[in-house]
Symmetry: D3
Subunit: 310 residues, 6 copies
Amino acid sequence: MAANSGDAINNKAGINPRADTLIQALPYIQRFAGKIMVIKFGGNVMSDDVLTQSFARDVVLLHSVGIYPIVVHGGGPQIKAHLSRLEMETAFVDGHRVTDAQTLEVVRMVLMGQVNREIVGAINLFGEYAIGMSGEDARLLTAKPRNPSLGFVGDVSAVNTKVLRKLVSEGFIPVVASIGADESGQAYNINADLVAGAIAQALSAEKLIVLTDVDGLLADVSNPHSRIPQVSTAKLQDIINSGKVSQGMLPKLEACVIATQGGPGSSDAGGPDTALGAAASAHLINGTQPHALLVEIFTDDGAGTMIVSE
Amino acid sequence: MAANSGDAINNKAGINPRADTLIQALPYIQRFAGKIMVIKFGGNVMSDDVLTQSFARDVVLLHSVGIYPIVVHGGGPQIKAHLSRLEMETAFVDGHRVTDAQTLEVVRMVLMGQVNREIVGAINLFGEYAIGMSGEDARLLTAKPRNPSLGFVGDVSAVNTKVLRKLVSEGFIPVVASIGADESGQAYNINADLVAGAIAQALSAEKLIVLTDVDGLLADVSNPHSRIPQVSTAKLQDIINSGKVSQGMLPKLEACVIATQGGPGSSDAGGPDTALGAAASAHLINGTQPHALLVEIFTDDGAGTMIVSE
Amino acid sequence: MAANSGDAINNKAGINPRADTLIQALPYIQRFAGKIMVIKFGGNVMSDDVLTQSFARDVVLLHSVGIYPIVVHGGGPQIKAHLSRLEMETAFVDGHRVTDAQTLEVVRMVLMGQVNREIVGAINLFGEYAIGMSGEDARLLTAKPRNPSLGFVGDVSAVNTKVLRKLVSEGFIPVVASIGADESGQAYNINADLVAGAIAQALSAEKLIVLTDVDGLLADVSNPHSRIPQVSTAKLQDIINSGKVSQGMLPKLEACVIATQGGPGSSDAGGPDTALGAAASAHLINGTQPHALLVEIFTDDGAGTMIVSE
Amino acid sequence: MAANSGDAINNKAGINPRADTLIQALPYIQRFAGKIMVIKFGGNVMSDDVLTQSFARDVVLLHSVGIYPIVVHGGGPQIKAHLSRLEMETAFVDGHRVTDAQTLEVVRMVLMGQVNREIVGAINLFGEYAIGMSGEDARLLTAKPRNPSLGFVGDVSAVNTKVLRKLVSEGFIPVVASIGADESGQAYNINADLVAGAIAQALSAEKLIVLTDVDGLLADVSNPHSRIPQVSTAKLQDIINSGKVSQGMLPKLEACVIATQGGPGSSDAGGPDTALGAAASAHLINGTQPHALLVEIFTDDGAGTMIVSE
Amino acid sequence: MAANSGDAINNKAGINPRADTLIQALPYIQRFAGKIMVIKFGGNVMSDDVLTQSFARDVVLLHSVGIYPIVVHGGGPQIKAHLSRLEMETAFVDGHRVTDAQTLEVVRMVLMGQVNREIVGAINLFGEYAIGMSGEDARLLTAKPRNPSLGFVGDVSAVNTKVLRKLVSEGFIPVVASIGADESGQAYNINADLVAGAIAQALSAEKLIVLTDVDGLLADVSNPHSRIPQVSTAKLQDIINSGKVSQGMLPKLEACVIATQGGPGSSDAGGPDTALGAAASAHLINGTQPHALLVEIFTDDGAGTMIVSE
Amino acid sequence: MAANSGDAINNKAGINPRADTLIQALPYIQRFAGKIMVIKFGGNVMSDDVLTQSFARDVVLLHSVGIYPIVVHGGGPQIKAHLSRLEMETAFVDGHRVTDAQTLEVVRMVLMGQVNREIVGAINLFGEYAIGMSGEDARLLTAKPRNPSLGFVGDVSAVNTKVLRKLVSEGFIPVVASIGADESGQAYNINADLVAGAIAQALSAEKLIVLTDVDGLLADVSNPHSRIPQVSTAKLQDIINSGKVSQGMLPKLEACVIATQGGPGSSDAGGPDTALGAAASAHLINGTQPHALLVEIFTDDGAGTMIVSE
């Protein structure tokens, strides 16, 4: 969703709706060719095969018109399921799950050996596009511990943007699991929303797009039709600071702040320490609406909430 | 209008119509990037300022997504008007106007100094794209006389494709008036539909698109809703041979045959003598329908009649 | 005409005159390869077929040794003739012809549809070189009105140098008619000498060469043998300011000042508002002397008057 | 190990041993720059941290002198361990483990989420080189079922060499787990030796190098000092056909045949159906000898057994 | 001297002679840009400082307009002088000087250390162009013995054209002394005319130009004004076969045959064994006429005799 | 000899000595690819055919792994021998030989026509690599007189680095004799050590390597085993200033200072006036030890003395 520079001469009266959609979309397509979009995939969408397939197709369509998509994912429910299958119990500190070495090993197996594979597979049904990666590959994500008492839970301290640029310029779609490693090679589990925000920020991506289960930010949480189409980064930070955001929504909003703000986020939010660039915009969209991704990117009205720095 | 290879997995049920248009259009956009489309502009469309502006915008939109449009035009009514203003009378042979030296001079002045300028100007409102040309520029169109008794009425005998390829690859939109010259530099007036067909054929263009005043080819001429969406070149030749085509429509159909058949057309039709390539398809669309050009190119159903070689 | 850096070692005594010409010419040829020369063609030369053919050949010879010629022309006599043929009368304000909408339409038809065609045709007898253009093509010349009371008489306010550089680097010889357009697409008639000067200045051309009917600037107007071989831009401005220059010669001298001075000329002279570069030199030569163009460019003595900034 | 073309002039008498090694190595280094070497890592080496680190360093050294290493691995023992941890029992048919859907899921998790990670991590201690991949990534390995009764046990039917070439030319070291997928995206477990052989063959690699626990092929199995330095592909096939090769050694020898023979292997051996190229040589070396890799590649005497097509 | 394709339209009547020279020269300059010309320098010209300087300048002028000159020289008189200074006597066999090892050493010292230096120095007064070479450098000229009884007198058996192409494309002017070496590195003295012919032939040079002391081939040797402007290779061979050619002129004519004939010359003539290409023409000109080189190359009438294959 | 950055992880205990040499060498090979090394060849080494051949081979091996060697040489003994053969006597001023015009001619003949040829020949036995040059070729070395009373004895005042870079990038090995020329083309004899130092400095070479007859710098001149492995440029200058260095060793040490110091050397030392770059290191090695060149460059311990700026 963005201002269409050609609007002034666009007389919409009586126009074929297909023509109208095309007239809106073509300038966006021109503008976004060769631009990177970081897309956080997750939640309910990921566990629905039809939605996953529809998402994979949209990602390939973006790729087909010259956009460079990078997909980021976590996998909380799948990790939880495998831990329970292994009858492993995990401690909690202040409500956060402690990730010890054995837990981390399971996290890594599930994310890289199961969840990542499924997204890669869904995309590659359309061609030889997706390459699954963890942040350990080619030192993609350097991690630092968040809080010693939480074990191997980390934050992103650096993104190897060169590797991602090489891969997208070779025509690949990187699918990145939210695992990083420190200089000694020790792996860490990182919140996937924050990984997506950090990557979008470090790459100065055109867009960070976070898939959620709601139609973006709502003016009135109880009213699903009260979507706010656009909000500033500063205003979003105010909303975060208000403390009223739900536990699940919080890292998504923080990711949008990290991506668009372009400076190091708060230590809680886990932004990279050496932030230079910034994404041009961040977007919260409803991944359960088929093709919301396309509508948000290529139409004037969009389908979610767009966050821009000012 | 073309087969969308992604259709099989496109579950349209309940899809947002904007999303549906995008899902249809994106593969076409990918497929047509870097391809040449020769567009014959003319008739009623040209004399309507709003339609001309809308046409110019569509051409610029095609250009914006990487398509290389080449516009071809004639200007019968404007020539007639200027001749009458100069009180010049012209002879007729078998119903064809004879073009003597003085008449040719007027033809050239009107086409290059008036009609061409207006199309170039309409496109250049959107940027520094259009370059007006006659077939004399850089020896673009080599002409040969059609019939000695008609004077300087010619047919295309060769197209300098190198020049057009250079210009489109530099980002320009050539706007070509239907004038050619023989080896000695003598200019000829050529039917613009046939010029468009010859250029599309010689360049092995992706498409020849001929703007008319009707919705393509009609199964029943008296029924404007009987549009035939697709027809083969051979079948179109049969229709031409049937002798039932109107005088105005005839060269348009012949141009579609020349473009897609890839061999020399009949001497009447004026195809180049040394035909090697062929356009992938030719299209007859209704230029009076705003944006029929975009709908024809980027949607599965199209807006006119598509002619393909088989 | 320029200083030959190799002179010091050039012992001319007893040298074969052909060898001497070659020894002079080769360093110029080396120096000018890849350089742009803007050549104002016009006046008596243009109406003489033999001189036009000879001029066309010289331009192609320049092109053959790697120089990038750009030809600029107007067409006052031809415009006047067509206006009278159409029995159109034009008003005069302070001795200047007023160009209303109908007059402008005729100007454009004559320049682009007749005069431009003839120069393009003469050059293209030698190959597929020339492309005719008006300042409207690819927004080549942005014009602004000179004086509201004169109607659509304009001055150059900007030159799209990128377009000219693309065309010459592709091997084309642009032949530019002296018409420009403002941002809204409204065309203006511009003095062709000033157009040539503005283009040479904007491109930082190697040379502006203005063809006239005399052997350059004369020390004594009544003595055709009193040619001044070289003069500074400042001195030329003094000559202009003296008020003794004939009406026909005035814009030619102003063009030389504009081209070499590199700053905006006086508003009367119509230099572009945003002048950055400057031509290395300007030259006034006698176009009625066959091949004066070659002699001026490739010999030490030259054939006209060279103007350099200091 | 290969003939050193410079030997004839190499007077070794009394040469400093370091100089002698360098004189031998430099021509190999020149010859192998820009060449692909496929290295099968596995067995006892993989479970020894010191050997793994030493192996990782050797791979990075190869990379540092312009060789393109590609590492291939399986992970039988680790898979077995995790299956038993999950208390999953697997059926056997004719002595082969049946891989049903649940087993396959575990195989994939262990290979991609655990074993692959460790090799990638060991290499990336030296820089941002290694990218872990399964055959599903970018459709690297197309698989076909080996035997319906074995479930998702597959053979390689095609290798996407383009992807591997892109990655190595970008400076990456691909680390490939032995998993493939068929056209529908269904994953298969494949023998890692055969994967390495198929990749080396498809890429026309300079070398396939298979790490084992013995010093190459022994003339007398009971005598570890009876290493055969070089053997032909045909002779190796004879040895395979003799039926005397141990179960563990068999696929290693078959991989060497597939790689160097360049045609489709026997259906048991699982060579790609459309074999065109061939590796220049295959090597069996003892991975438990530190740096055997370097000695084999860069010295005249080598450290294992080299297999060449004739 | 060659047919000027533009002649037909060149009305010479009353043309300024400088203009006429330029009109003739420019097409040659265009045609010869990027072409190699092998120039044999020697005889009386070499021992005259003014002529040498004039020659050097002409070579640099050729270079300045994009021609690639390669200069070849011998040095009989200088060799003779140094041998006598060293009081070395040389044997003769059938009138040919025998070149033993000591003599060869002197030949090499004089050619590379004295004559070559002087030509290089004369050229480099104009810039950093000339690089002196013997046929031993980069294995430029492979030699074979001509006749065992003559010692180290050789013929050219192969030319390393790659080296010469690299050097000229880097902007250098190679100055080649007539020494070659066989595979074992043994040097040989070769006739410089034949070296020039072999190089011109092997490079498919545009021209071989041999400087002599007369105005080319004369119809009547006693009449210096009876110059033959052009002759065929076959006719020249007839003249050689007639046995009337002087001892000094013979190898010059043979060189012209070798260069233009494109096949192996007679063993006496010393053409390379593996002849593939051929020079487009060979020229005999009078090096004592200043700038004959330029007049021959760039004017229609030329200054010597041109030999072409048919 | 340089610090091996990979040492920390290099557990040498029990490693195969060949493997150890390789592990040391590979990082050096990587680091030095594409780097220039200037090698001063001379003294006793040059007069020993076996050592010369061994040296030539080492140079070709360096070239084979992507290093760009440039060889510099003088030829004092050979010059002396030829002068005496010609019975030419030379004057001495303060113990320095005076080089008058006749002497210079002999110097040039011997260096370019004899010594240079032999080194070029030895290298070219291995391929078409070496091109012999004097400083006059392509104005490689600009010289200035050292002391008027010494005649044509010069120092380097400028190095044409562009020429050397072109030649090495084309795959050639320049072999440079120590002769330069001033702007007027007058040649000068220059000390070859100082030429090597000036070239290494001007090119910012990776290394200057000076072959001597001893194992580098000795802490105790009477003890050949007291080699100092590394010393700073400042310390070396102190040693020079101490006045205890032998006449033959002095210019070698000065060359090392010039190369690594990067500023103009003292006027005695003959460094170029306009010094910008500096060699990364200089090395004194014993050329009589076969392959000391390789051992010095590719092993941690080296074989001589390394000089670095700090």
